[in-house]
Point group: C2
Chain length 337, copies 2
DNA sequence: CTGTTAGCGCATTCAC
DNA sequence: GTGAATGCGCTAACAG
């Protein structure tokens, strides 16, 4: 249904003014007499007049809207990042369009098109675990629309990125396990496609190396982050001839699932087997025992990403920078280790 | 920075065609020769042409965008509802703008203006706990923009609503506690401003009445849902001369906090004190002991709300209906009771 | 089958 | 201080 709308013309007619005068009032232009200004503002108020941002965006070739594409919406991670980003964006006068890709490449591509069609001034992107081709994202660059990655970044593209020090976070987590006298530390790793998985794996290996613990490939299990598979891998680990006495998990949802499986087997956490996660999800402090994890400054990730994006929007294309911000993580030791 | 854009005119010029012909191809109009169609499509593909939805929206006086306003983004509740809504909306060709009001009336009003300015075709709203004045929402009706409430509905407005049977859910929860031989069942209630609080309270009282348990106003504590206050109220309850042996909490975050406080006091859950929540948050199954709670069909709430909204959008204003859908809850008994 | 014209709502020239 | 004219990108109505 097409709907009727109060426009500048309506106001102009009722007041016997020209559209341009009304427009001047509404845009805060100084050269209008107080009487007309008053009259216009009153009538606008009375008629619930709202400027049509669509037409303004069209006219300015600028929508004052940024897009955010995240892979999922299940964990508390991305909603928090989004909140941080929205705060900064709103402050700078930008609206936000949020899409989640459902961890699917196709959906990500579709979301990308949607953003483009809706004339976003810039996009914040965190990739799906499936994304290996980046053509749909390079279009933004070609069109002069800035893009900033966070968390799941694209290493192929030379644009601003916000990440945390995954290597160091993983290193500290594993080091902590070593200091707890754990000798056989397993790693439930993420898919190789994600740089965060790769970096955390490196941190894991580096920590073992530092303390002269042999790296046993049998204890390193990469998986695709799909819920449900955790059980298979944990069971596999427990059935090894020489089973692990600790598991460092790629993220908290994984760790939480692992912890519950281990408990159900009657094993003691952390005595028989310690468990450490990554990201400090809301839930990690609620389970029993509470999960040791590497916390990320989630909100700050969102806000710095948004800030980088807005800076980029305000720069001319020729002066785009590709700043990479690496934020600090913090090891939070709880009872699970 | 204003940015350049590939337009229909660009394509038309390069191909020595009129804009309208190009437009016809892009809109799938049949009356174009195969040769021109082919040529246009090829060039469009090659130039990464994307239709500018802003101009189309302006032209049609229809943005194919719906707005969703939720009070918060912390619990897993609203993200899930949003996912349900987005699914249906996307299916029907609608984009989504999501805003959270941070449980603040002022932000809600601001979000409302933003939706209006961005010409949404309809809005899905769940109110903040502060909202008592509904003028900002009634504007939508006056402008012919349909609005549908879910969860935190506005009883003043005669529009479609999606809720769950809070009364029955609460009734069953309390009845369950009675059957567990609990005699002094407290209720950590929500603010009176929210109909859901009122209904859950009624369900609570009705259940007690049915089983001839006297209603003790001392055991009913309404609070404003702010995290941190739970501690005060739980401690207060525990210090009563005749303390409760069960607490029915307005929602899961509250129940989880209550449970942790009670445990820290050295009390046994559920033997000394049973705890029941509402909504079946992700976290409720992870804590120890797992929380008994009333589950809501969260995703379905979102999808039905979106469906009602789209139906409304497709109807003429004169034929708007105010359907109220009440979805079923389900009591999920776990170890906390 | 194709081209021409008008106009969605607005801000910004340029006149006076 | 105010009005008239132009155009953002696009589609639809009207011609041929």
């Amino acid at each position: 249904m097409k709907r009727h709308q109060v426009t500048i013309v309506d106001i102009a007619k009722k007041l016997n003014l020209s559209k341009s005068t009304v427009s001047r009032v509404l845009t805060g232009h100084p050269s209008v007499s107080d009487k007309t200004r008053q009259a216009v503002l009153e009538l606008a108020e009375q008629l619930d007049y709202q400027r049509n941002m669509l037409s303004i965006s069209l006219l300015n070739r600028k929508s004052n809207t940024i897009g955010i594409i995240v892979p999922e919406f299940i964990s508390s991670y991305f909603p928090q990042v989004i909140m941080g980003a929205q705060e900064v964006a709103a402050e700078a006068g930008y609206n936000t369009i949020i899409c989640h890709s459902n961890e699917t490449y196709e959906t990500e591509v579709a979301n990308t098109k949607l953003m483009l069609a809706n004339q976003v001034d810039g996009v914040l992107v965190s990739l799906t675990k499936e994304t290996r081709n980046f053509d749909h994202l390079k279009i933004f660059e070609r069109k002069g629309i800035p893009i900033v990655f966070f968390n799941r970044v694209c290493e192929d593209m030379d644009v601003p990125k916000v990440m945390v020090d995954d290597y160091e976070g993983a290193f500290r987590a594993v080091e902590h396990l070593v200091k707890r006298k754990k000798k056989r530390i397993a790693h439930l790793a993420g898919p190789d496609s994600l740089p965060i998985s790769v970096k955390r794996l490196k941190g894991y290996k580096a920590a073992l190396k530092k303390y002269n613990i042999p790296i046993d490939e049998e204890l390193i299990i990469p998986y695709d982050l799909s819920i449900g598979k955790v059980k298979i891998y944990v069971n596999h680990l427990l059935r090894l001839a020489n089973p692990p006495d600790a598991i460092f998990c790629i993220n908290d949802p994984t760790a939480i699932e692992a912890l519950q499986i281990v408990k159900k087997k009657g094993l003691d956490v952390p005595k028989d087997i310690a468990i450490v996660g990554f990201s400090n999800d809301f839930a990690s402090d609620l389970i029993d025992p509470p999960l040791t994890t590497v916390s990320q400054p989630v909100r700050e990730i969102g806000s710095t990403a948004a800030q980088l994006l807005i800076d980029q929007i305000n720069r001319d294309v020729s002066e785009w920078k590709s700043i990479i911000k690496v934020l600090k993580t913090e090891l939070i030791v709880r009872k699970s280790s």
